[in-house]
Symmetry: C2
Subunit: 319 residues, 2 copies
Amino acid sequence: MSYIIGIDLGGTNMVAALTYKNETIIAREKTETMADSGFANVVRRLAELVQRLMDGAGVSCRQVEGIGIGVPGYLNMMSGVVHFSPNFTGWTEVPLVDELHKHISLPVYIVNDVNAHALGEYRFGAGRGAEHIAVLALGTGVGGGLILDGRLYAGSTEGGGELGHIVVDPDGPRCECGCYGCLEAFAKAQAIADRTAMKLQQGKRSLIPGMVDGDIRSITPAVVAQAAEAGDQTAIEVWDEVGMYVGIAAAGLIQALSPQVIVIGGGIAGAGRFLMDPIRRTVETRALLVPASTCRLELSPLGDDAGLLGAISLVIEKR
Amino acid sequence: MSYIIGIDLGGTNMVAALTYKNETIIAREKTETMADSGFANVVRRLAELVQRLMDGAGVSCRQVEGIGIGVPGYLNMMSGVVHFSPNFTGWTEVPLVDELHKHISLPVYIVNDVNAHALGEYRFGAGRGAEHIAVLALGTGVGGGLILDGRLYAGSTEGGGELGHIVVDPDGPRCECGCYGCLEAFAKAQAIADRTAMKLQQGKRSLIPGMVDGDIRSITPAVVAQAAEAGDQTAIEVWDEVGMYVGIAAAGLIQALSPQVIVIGGGIAGAGRFLMDPIRRTVETRALLVPASTCRLELSPLGDDAGLLGAISLVIEKR
């Protein structure tokens, strides 16, 4: 029972990893998710992926403690049912754990992917040794996860930790959730691209049009980060503004929850200091001194493995 | 051991209550705090109050399980030290529990007064049966307390739950804490009085000047509530605006923590539906549907006894 399998089930790819003695990933397998191919087919692909992973490593079921799966969407960890996932066609109230058990005789646990990220930070990442952690994952959307008193916090609806929908400006733009001025409306990838495009349309000088062959609709946060790295003032301005909004949300979390660490992750965290510096400046002016002085603000050290390591953590939590 | 003593230690008065079998307050005593008379003197007054309470009820120390005290300020529940209290002259790092033990041979526990309120709601008030509760106490300042997963949440600094300093408008006025646009800057008593006075100075028609003999500096939230009750449109407008800001904070709590109930307490909650209606309207438009639909918004049913009942709850929690 020295092995654990963690799976990061994304809308595009599914990745499975095998760890030995909790920490070291000794093998990994990846395949297309085929999210539109129907629930039963995705489950079959998951089972095949797990089998291939174990076969490749010469590990049998008897040696594996369990499987943890990070799933994008709204789900019930206890029942193993995914209520809804925006990334999978037709996934409404699907019994993911029960269905997987038809293929695999191992304990299977599921968790929201951003909550997995929070568990991963708690056990393997920036939250090691801390008891109170908030994770903001900035990507296509903005997700959040909370570890409070050393446990994943889910709230009354298991939907707790929807930190992307903290209001950071009541007069802000409408968010996809229907509310106004949520963090996500300012800090998701498309919002960053749109903010950049608007500045360019206003005639700001920038390296960015040259970097995207003049097609400003193809701007991504990675491009804006690259431009900032090259000293582009317009790009730096975009990150200053986005960082300020993330900082307002972080300050709110500090006032309300006094965490020891707030971890900034997701693809957009690739902007590094261009994102973190304005977050830190904002927290300095907008959070109470005592809880702010005991709260670290850190980039996720887990990178692309955050979800996998979180899924593995979930199995460890269940001991 | 059927009796518990709860104390609400205010800056003006200290009130002690004796309960029998947890729930029923069978005796209470009250005296002036004399907050400026020095730490040792306040502690002596506390001890005398407790003795008078027990003597009056014919109860001996052996019959009392413990004493819980709600203290305004920033303190350490474990060590029993009050780091700082704005309500007491010279209270910096004072060992309240140790000092009381020189006078009283009973277990003594202390808790921040608003956290006491949260415990009181959890055990005796609007939070009965819930596991996740947020309390917003609106008064001279705006305090907050959180019960998460059935336990008082304190965070890493024991300063968690500073819900009065959640930013509800980043462009808002400066708060006493030094930040901008905190809930407290909109919803504390003086802010409500100032907002009302400003509307009157702008020439809005209102019953209020007549209610305060033309002295608009003497406006209180109670007067504004009374005017609203009488149909005064300016007063109702004030509550609509204040309620909107409280609602933004409540929506943020719902997104982040998905509590089962948010309790609105403190003296300003006396405005009743004039405050609660705009809070509810704001939450309806500003919070995610799933967590909002499972979260009740309630006026505190405990009234002036919230602190006392919270202090009593603290002793029960320690079992």
